[in-house]
């Protein structure tokens, strides 16, 4: 039987088909050859390797679970998840790049766009010719996006957008932004705003200590006039952006397992060759406990997330399933990254090793796309029937 090219303590390979495994193997090979050798220089410089956009497109990694009709690969959600796992094994910034493009821009255009929007945008986004970003979060509205201030006012055949978005992955390098704004009735709607539109600015946010190999920016909309047909016709209300986030969070569920695996594999290797007191540190009970806890948590996350994928393919996945997965997996990955760093000792603080870079990245992942706290409250609301945060 073909096998996953990753830690697989409970033989989850046997729960996957040949195609899913071939896709995982391919994605791992690709990341190891094309991305891992250059990630550190970009992390130090605070840049994203932009020439990879076309290579990612060629491989089919953008919106891979969308239909072939629009130039996508049409793979199932398990295989899609395994790609996210392998991209994030490289760096959370790489997975974020693909997540935003696929789940937050291509997916909503596919789900809520007009046929002409789909035919025009999806193939260009799939190939990497165009880069997209997703504008929902605002400086004063993070966990509570329903309070957004950004407005869209109809004016003849146009909409005029005003407002500001913040913490937007890829905004400074995007060709197209999906902006969520309230119309004159206070209803949230989605608008496609192309770069070059007067009144559309995307300053980069500097000084990040996390996700450094990923570009983050603001979006400033100052009387930004767009054609009325740039509105996504198929959705009204906050469930639009929230449904996109469910897609992206699904990818995070898988992605962070990849980051955890990278740290576990690094710590395991290191512990077997690092000698202290005349024996490898892997021989010490404290190290073995750390490593055992890591593989235990990775294995649990693998099985949890595989079931999540099966639910998604069966179209029975609910947003609270994704919330529970994100709660478990991101915290698990962050714990493993920190624990791996302790096994690496002083070596663990230099960027020759991956664990601290992953730990730093995972601080962002713990917070973005719904904070750990919000997902806890979503699960709480689901089991008690009482919302702790809705007014």
């Amino acid at each position: 039987m073909p096998q996953l090219n990753s830690p697989d303590f409970f033989n989850s390979s046997s729960l996957l088909n040949d195609e899913e495994i071939l896709i995982q193997n391919t994605a791992r090979q690709w990341v190891e050859k094309e991305f891992n050798p250059i990630v550190v220089e970009h992390y130090r410089a605070g840049t994203f390797p932009m020439d990879l956009r076309f290579k990612l497109g060629e491989m089919g990694f953008f919106g891979a679970n969308l239909p072939e009709k629009y130039g996508c690969a049409g793979i199932n959600n398990i295989a899609y998840g395994l790609i996210m796992q392998e991209l994030e094994r490289g760096d959370s910034g790489l997975r974020s790049f693909a997540s935003v493009q696929g789940a937050l821009v291509m997916w909503p255009i596919h789900e809520y766009g007009s046929e002409s929007q789909k035919e025009y945008w999806i193939p260009k986004l799939a190939s990497g010719e165009k880069i997209g970003c997703f504008g929902l979060t605002e400086p004063d509205y993070g966990s509570n996006p329903g309070g957004m201030i950004t407005r869209a006012r109809r004016d003849g055949d146009s909409y005029i957008l005003n407002g500001a978005k913040m913490w937007i992955t890829n905004s400074p390098i995007a060709d197209i932004a999906l902006i969520w704004a309230k119309n004159e009735d206070g209803i949230v709607e989605g608008f496609l705003v192309e770069r070059g539109t007067p009144g559309f600015e995307t300053p980069e946010m500097k000084g990040k200590l996390s996700l450094r190999a990923s570009i983050t920016g603001e979006i400033i909309l100052n009387n930004c006039r767009i054609p009325a047909e740039n509105k996504l016709p198929g959705i009204k209300g906050l469930k639009g952006p929230l449904s996109c986030l469910t897609q992206a969070r699904y990818g995070i569920n898988w992605g962070v397992i990849g980051a955890a695996m990278a740290c576990y594999e690094e710590a395991l290797d290191y512990s077997k060759t690092r000698i202290q007191f005349d024996k490898p540190i892997a021989a010490f009970q404290l190290t073995q406990q750390k490593l055992s806890e890591m593989i235990l948590e990775i294995t649990k996350a693998q099985l949890l997330t595989l079931q999540l994928g099966r639910l998604k393919d069966a179209k029975t996945m609910e947003h609270y399933h994704v919330s529970m997965g994100k709660m478990n997996n991101v915290r698990m990955a962050l714990d493993i990254a920190r624990s791996a760093r302790t096994i690496l000792g002083a070596n663990g603080i230099v960027d020759e090793y991956v664990s601290l870079r992953h730990a730093n990245n995972l601080e962002s992942v713990l917070t973005y796309e719904g904070t750990h706290e919000m997902h806890t409250l979503i699960v709480g609301e689901t089991i008690t029937g009482i919302s702790a945060f809705r007014v």
Binding site: Q3, L22, T26, Q29, M59, F61
Partner: protein, 251 residues
Amino acid sequence: MKIVVCIKHVPDTETKIVIVDDGKSINSNGVKYILNPYDEYAVEEALQIKEANEESEVVAISVGDDSTQSSIRSALAMGVDRGTLLKTGNFALVDPFSVAKILAEEIKLESPDIILTGKMSIDAYGSQVPGLIAELLELPVVNLARDIVLSEGKATVKRDIEGGSETLITTLPAVISAEKGLNNPRYPALKGIMQAKKKPLEIKEINLDETDVEIIELTYPKQKPAGRIVGNSADAAVELVKLLRQEAKVI
């Protein structure tokens, strides 16, 4: 132009091999198998020839068991048009001559313009199959190709030799085996992987004749002996040089 590529399903180099109790075969449970890396160069070369010559077809042929299908699918995902599995009972025990005979019979049916293989498989290190196929088909063979140019029914092949390289020209059809560096094999893109499912993979049951060569024993490589520390002071350098010269005989 029709191109046949002969491929093999082999254990990944990073796999830990376990010899089973009979001492003649390995335990394939938990072993990760891949498309032989040298055969990947052959597949890539075939695809490049196909891309440069309209109406070409690339066929991958492999001798193996059911699990071999995954390596054929990998080749299909890279862009090979169809595959044939020549399925044998106990694949692990098949000797190179038997493999070559089975392959040659199948290649005859395909009557290709060119036959490409890897220079060897990374599990058995036999390097015999390309030459044996060529002999059985009465075709020329060129091994260890680093560059292949086709024109007017001939192939110009560059290969490395001791201290330099040599360029040969051969009539076609011919068997050419690929050396590392012939090209840069492509990754199977997702679309290719999805299309591979729909491509034909024919399975033919093969009855093996008695083989002339059989494996008597498999053993693990010798364990490296533990290192020895000669001393910690500057004087130890003298002792070390002496031992390297007289005992280890490496300088």
